[in-house]
């Protein structure tokens, strides 16, 4: 059984099917990309996996747990982390605080310990801080540590978004267009980060990306979505040759 199993997912919004009968399976440690034209249902699929939407039909299983009806915080507790397409950071907080928030589920001290800030609360906070600093180093965010997120440039915020998802300590990382709107240089950095995440942490990654070059370069496998359905699946080489994919992408002229 795969680590993530999505079977026959259908999602209907006011009579309109955003997804119809989508099935995907992701193995532990894999880097899987989901591509497809705008409105194909990629983000909806991610929303279902991370608990923001609940599918009309179908089943989502993660490491044997049924997450079909789970809420986002439940999904997070099972080890699914998510970086949003439209940056969803806490803009009134610093980078450091944003990342510390991601350690929320790992902190176990009680309200009273927190109120006196001593003992367990203090030691766990310091521990969490150390973890966060590690991620900050890893994602090369040192200069921005105490800056308010709202004041950072777009590219950096995208990086913080990924860093925060990583701070959750996930088994499965969902990245929704982490490179959208970036400069070439920033994109190269991000690709490096993604590859490093997988290499050093062994995290399973599901990536939505428009840049086909990147996708073909780094993915183990690719799913192609169009009109809410999977139209192709396989290694980048196989998918690239699929006529339906070409049709969907070039718009029927091929």
């Amino acid at each position: 059984m795969a680590q993530l199993d999505v079977e026959n997912l259908t999602l209907v919004f006011g009579g309109l099917a955003a997804l119809s009968g989508v099935s995907i399976a992701v193995e532990k440690g894999e880097l899987v990309s989901i591509i497809g034209p705008n409105g194909a249902g990629k983000t909806s699929l991610l929303n279902c996996i991370s608990g923001f939407y609940h599918p009309t039909e179908g089943v989502i299983r993660f490491e044997g747990h049924d997450l079909t009806r789970a809420s986002p915080h439940t999904a997070t507790r099972y080890g699914i982390a998510r970086a949003f397409q439209n940056i969803e950071l806490f803009s009134g907080l610093t980078v450091l605080e944003n990342l510390l928030l991601a350690r929320h589920t790992h902190l176990r001290y009680g309200l009273f310990a927190a109120a006196v800030f001593y003992g367990r609360a203090l030691s766990e906070e310091v521990e969490a801080r150390a973890y966060v600093e590690e991620i900050i180093d890893f994602m090369e965010l040192e200069p921005y540590r105490k800056r308010l997120v709202g004041s950072l440039p777009y590219g950096v915020r995208k990086r913080v978004e990924v860093a925060r998802a990583l701070t959750l300590g996930p088994k499965l990382l969902l990245l929704d267009e982490p490179m959208a709107g970036m400069t070439l240089e920033e994109k190269e950095d991000m690709v490096r980060f993604i590859l490093d995440i997988r290499a050093e942490r062994g995290t399973t990654i599901v990536l939505i990306e428009h840049d086909l070059g990147v996708v073909m370069d780094i993915s183990d496998r690719v799913y192609v979505l169009d009109f809410g359905q999977v139209i192709a699946e396989g290694t980048p080489e196989v998918v690239a040759k699929n006529p339906r994919v070409l049709e969907a992408y070039v718009g029927g002229t091929a």
Partner: protein
């Protein structure tokens, strides 16, 4: 049976006063997403202007009403310009608080006139007797209330469906950015909504004044009763305001009629609508006719 029907009828007429007060509230919310806590004070201003004109200046009451409607419209317009405009884009709480501050400001201003304390009443211009039909009775001021509500409803319906400005307001309510890109002046629309709210408030104040006399506290308290109405009807729905108003009026009356004898001390009519409000919020958060806000991730 006639008891029940009488409760319904009285509820309906009282409800139409609430509806009138709620109309202005909804207009402002619809256009600018602002909750107006100063609606009660607007109502008071409208009533006092009518009183001052008709008693101190001996003006005909209808003429006084027309002038009061115009004045409160100007007041609404002015309030939007001076107090609300600088807060565009600020968090909700700022905007709520500014209307609360405004309420206090208006109340202070009213205290600078002889109307701050005391009870007043309009010179009587309607028969006291009331209309009787099959054992059901309503007073003339109440008939007037229903009549006013119908007129305002008709005017607003016409305004939003037919006139260019009304259509512009609807556009702004639907999507501010899109409306702006089409060249609609959002600012103008906001100010207009406040002016219109001022008019409905003055009309409500006039009616309340004829029904139960003029007293600052009493008039201002109508501003609170608007909340269950708009929550039930939906914050941004004009027909919702009317139907919500009538529904709350009827519920209040039914509570008074059937619940009060069961509760020692009674007085359930005042609190029952707020219990309904909580239930509505839980089971139908956007009211009967309100637009649901869908969140996109």
């Amino acid at each position: 049976m006639s008891y029940f029907v009488q409760l319904l009828v009285s509820g309906l007429v009282v409800g139409s006063i609430y509806a009138l007060a709620a109309l202005g509230f909804v207009l402002i919310y619809k256009a600018s997403r602002v909750i107006n806590f100063a609606q009660g004070e607007f109502i008071a201003v409208g009533a006092f202007v009518v009183y001052a004109l008709s008693v101190y200046l001996g003006m005909n009451i209808w003429l006084a009403l027309v002038i009061s409607l115009l004045l409160t419209a100007v007041l609404g317009f002015f309030v939007e310009r001076v107090f609300l405009r600088p807060l565009v884009g600020q968090p909700i709480i700022s905007v709520i608080m500014v209307t609360i501050g405004l309420a206090s400001l208006l109340e202070g201003a009213i205290h600078l006139t002889p109307f701050g304390g005391g009870n007043f009443s309009f010179p009587s211009f309607l028969p006291q007797k009331g209309i009787e039909f099959a054992g059901i009775s309503v007073s003339y001021p109440q008939v007037l209330a229903v009549f006013f509500t119908l007129i305002f409803l008709a005017v607003f319906a016409w305004f939003f469906q037919r006139s260019t400005l009304g259509i512009a307001m609807r556009a702004v309510a639907d999507d501010q950015m899109a409306a702006m890109s089409l060249g609609v002046s959002v600012e103008k629309v906001f100010a207009l909504a406040w002016a219109a709210a001022g008019i409905t408030a003055a009309a409500a104040g006039f009616i309340v004044g004829t029904v139960s006399g003029i007293n600052l506290g009493g008039l201002v308290s109508i501003g609170l009763r608007v909340f269950p109405v708009v929550i039930l009807g939906g914050l941004d729905s004009i027909p919702g305001a009317v139907i919500g108003g009538i529904a709350i009026g009827i519920l209040e009356n039914l509570a008074t009629g059937y619940l009060d004898p069961l509760v020692p001390g009674g007085g359930t009519g005042g609190v029952f609508p707020f219990v309904v409000l909580l239930l509505v919020l839980w089971f139908k958060p956007y009211g009967l006719f309100g637009t649901e806000e869908i969140e996109r991730v």
